[in-house]
Amino acid sequence: MDLLKILSIIGSASVLIVVIELIRRGRLKERYSLLWLLAGGILLLLSSSRDILEYISHLVGIYYPPSLLFLLAFLFLLLITMHFSVVLSDLSEKNKKLAQELALLRQEIQKMMNRSVEKQDVTG
């Protein structure tokens, strides 16, 4: 086994382990972990079997098989950051709605309080 292979197996295995551990501790929600698990899994598969790596490299015309690993890692990172942007947009929209609802509710409470004060003035 060459050094590169050992290193890439360690690398992709630790990604998987860290992701699983984060999910287990409730620090990472399952719905955001799918891409990470997929990334870790595929990278582990490719780094442990030189044959698959060389086969796919040959198929798409990559002369130096390990660079396929870099390409895939890069594509996964791209996907994950894009996923983050989508999640972030969704969250900021929800955040805006919450702020608006909060302001409307405050106004509603103010109105109710004013009304009960008026009532007391009339009856008391």
């Binding site: 805006k96 608006q100 302001a103 409307l104």
Partner: protein, 231 residues
């Protein structure tokens, strides 16, 4: 006709009392709602002390989010017409009556107050005018929306538009963008001539480079809106 005037305000304690007095004097039948967009000054207290309803946003949402909060209030409290009027004093309450007429007559869904329909009615910096002209040109030539003052935030909306705005209201450059979105859902947009006060604050610091950047961003936003799905 149940009428609400929405006044978005961000740190407007200096000009707000004048705006509120002006509205009470010229449109006494209307309810006024100040949307305090996370001001750090006493905007909210001043409005309350004048007996005005206030929506206090917990932090600054920007003009788009603040206006939408106002439209949500209008929709939930069954207002038939909502007018938006800036808190900085550049919009004059005596012009509102003119803007309501087309809505009452049912000839428009939204009425925009324009400074440019009367010749020589408004003087702004060269760059600002240039930007408004470019947007207006694109809106009228490409989309067929006949507007001269696309960045005007002085508007009156009927119930249909109020309800649309509670669902969809643009965040970044809401004046120009909302026209594109309204046009996409076949709302009738009408402009009427109004006079406005020149803004007293120091917006004169707009440089050529900054205006070019602003114009580019708004144009990008318009074309993104064009591709958006709206319901």
């Amino acid at each position: 006709m149940k009428l609400l005037i929405i006044v978005p305000a961000y740190n407007e304690e200096a000009s707000l009392p004048g705006v509120i007095r002006d509205l009470k004097q010229h449109v006494p039948s209307a309810d006024v709602l100040v949307v305090n967009d996370g001001s750090r000054d006493s905007t909210s207290r001043i409005a309350r002390e004048m007996g005005i309803k206030v929506l206090d946003l917990p932090f600054n949402l920007g003009i788009g989010g603040a206006m939408q909060a106002g439209y949500l209030y209008a929709a939930r409290n069954d207002y038939e017409i909502a007018v938006q009027c800036d808190g900085d004093g550049q919009h004059l309450a005596r012009e509102i009556r003119k803007m309501l007429q087309p809505l009452a007559a049912g000839t428009a869904d939204i009425v925009v107050g324009s400074r440019f329909l009367t010749p020589g009615g408004y003087r702004a910096s060269v760059f600002r005018t240039l930007g408004i002209r470019i947007f207006s040109f694109i809106l009228s030539r490409i989309f067929g929306i006949a507007v001269t003052d696309s960045t005007s935030g002085f508007r009156a909306a009927n119930r249909r538009v109020i309800e649309f705005f509670t669902r969809t209201y643009p965040d970044d450059y809401p004046e120009v963008e909302s026209l594109v979105l309204l046009h996409k859902v076949n709302m009738r947009i009408l402009e009427v001539a109004v006079t406005m006060h020149d803004r007293t604050g120091g917006s004169s610091s707009i440089t050529a480079l900054r205006s070019a950047y602003y114009i580019a961003k708004v144009l990008l936003a318009i074309f993104i809106d064009l591709m958006k799905k709206v319901r």
